[in-house]
């Protein structure tokens, strides 16, 4: 396991996730984070597993998936550089709602969510900024999910049943 990061490089700080955090909060975040590297096709988190961490993707690609009987693993979303994986840690004793697997070699920062929740009790500003950051992540995900549910590219209802075109 890699040691904690201690300081966040300017390159990391350029990620949108860190926007708005002051030096004191960044130091706490760094203290409770470490860098990890995964090869392709590794299960990063498993549905139902106790959620004590969250991840910030630095490069590579991760898919969020769930298992549907008869359909196998269904991809719900893909995450890339700058995307956050996991928010279940915010609610104590929670478990991950979905699984996640790397699609290619991926580097990420892992944050100890449980430890950060304790820090938030002592540092309300960190808690406020962190909650705002995750509210943004969650509202983005909710908006995207709603758009996916709208099924924008489906055929018009009026079009009725249609036999698929045969390749000629």
């Amino acid at each position: 396991m890699n040691p904690p990061v201690h300081t966040l490089s300017p390159q990391l700080l350029s990620l949108q996730f860190f926007a708005g955090f002051g030096p004191a909060e960044l130091q706490i975040l760094a203290r409770h984070s470490r860098q990890v590297s995964w090869p392709a096709d590794v299960e990063v988190i498993r549905e139902g597993q106790v959620a004590t961490e969250f991840f910030l993707i630095l490069d590579g690609r991760v898919r969020v998936e769930t298992h549907l009987p008869g359909r196998g693993e269904v991809t719900l979303q893909t995450l890339l550089r700058g995307d956050v994986l996991g928010w279940s840690w915010l609610t104590a004793n929670a478990s991950f709602s979905f699984s996640a697997r790397t699609l290619q070699p991926t580097n990420a920062l892992v944050f100890e969510g449980t430890a950060l929740l304790r820090e938030c009790e002592q540092h309300p500003r960190l808690g406020y900024l962190l909650m705002r950051r995750f509210a943004l992540v969650m509202s983005d995900r909710l908006r995207h999910t709603r758009l996916q549910l709208l099924d924008l590219y489906s055929p018009p209802r009026s079009s009725g049943p249609f036999q698929a075109l045969k390749k000629r």
Binding site: T75, T78, Y153, P156, F162, L165, R168
Partner: protein
């Protein structure tokens, strides 16, 4: 950004007179979408058009439909149209075979601002069949690549099976001077690409927002959210262009079928710069 470049428009004499074309090639793109390559029955050159313009295609006895040209404007000998079979006329067109005759009237409407985009970064955002009207823009820019800045194509489809022009997308993605990002709303076990909505792709687009021209084509809700995402990235609204779709019939702004507020989509559009269409864009039941 100046006004849209004057388009090629069918003159009054030919605007209402269909010309016979022969089906030279029929390609099934997906389960419900196909591409027709049409050549003038009389020989010679096809009707010249600018990227973003549309023609009226006739399928007797069902009627006619407005279909954007999806082929390269530089290819003068044929007209290429990509069509989704969703109604009586488009389903009749789906029955055509090589050698059959189709009547064509056009081209109509204001095109994409390709000339004005020279010297700028260009981002093309397409949803579903909306990739078809944007493909001529891509052909044009790739043919005159040095005149443009960075080029980015962001494309969203419903499922992997609904992805249009898959081979071309792979070819374009292999180039070093185009960023091609494709996402689907619903993946399957064989899909190793992105899953999510097309607006998410914009966050990854490599462009300079202030000097970017965006051309967006797809369902209106998708264009609405794309416009919001572009504005969030810092692309000026005057540099955002959308292609509107209504029930075009005459093509010359006479019949009123495609009226949207003060505009006739067939004549004033289908391509609009966003500030112009904003007052009526996303207006309920308009």
């Amino acid at each position: 950004m100046s006004a849209i470049h004057p388009p090629f428009v069918a003159d009054a004499g030919s605007a209402l007179v269909p010309l016979p074309y022969r089906v030279q090639r029929f390609v099934c793109d997906t389960d419900d979408t196909f591409t027709l390559t049409l050549a003038p029955q009389s020989g010679g050159e096809a009707l010249p058009f600018a990227p973003g313009q549309f023609n009226m295609l006739y399928a007797f006895p069902s009627g006619d439909v407005p279909i954007s040209v999806s082929g390269p404007a530089a290819r003068r000998e044929v007209l290429i149209h990509t069509i989704r079979a969703v109604g009586p006329v488009t389903r009749a067109l789906a029955q055509l075979r090589r050698g059959d005759t189709v009547l064509v009237r056009g081209p109509f409407g204001k095109p994409w601002p390709v000339a004005q985009a020279e010297g700028h970064d260009v981002v093309l955002i397409a949803g579903g069949i909306g990739l078809a009207p944007l493909r001529p823009v891509l052909y044009h820019i790739l043919a005159k690549r040095k005149r443009f800045g960075r080029l980015c194509l962001l494309y969203g489809a419903r499922t992997p099976g609904d992805v249009l022009y898959r081979r071309e997308l792979e070819k374009w993605r292999g180039r070093l001077d185009v960023q091609v990002e494709v996402t689907v709303d619903r993946g399957d076990s064989d899909w190793h690409g992105e899953v999510g909505v097309v607006t998410q792709l914009l966050e990854r687009a490599q462009l300079d927002p202030a000097r970017t021209v965006a051309m967006v084509c797809g369902p209106e809700v998708m264009m609405h959210f794309s416009r919001l995402a572009l504005t969030k990235r810092g692309v000026p609204e005057s540099q955002i262009f959308v292609s509107m779709e209504r029930n075009m019939k005459c093509g010359v702004g006479s019949c009123g079928h495609c009226q949207l507020g003060p505009f006739f989509i067939c004549k004033d559009g289908p391509v609009f710069d966003y500030p112009r269409i904003a007052p009526v864009f996303s207006t309920k039941e308009l």
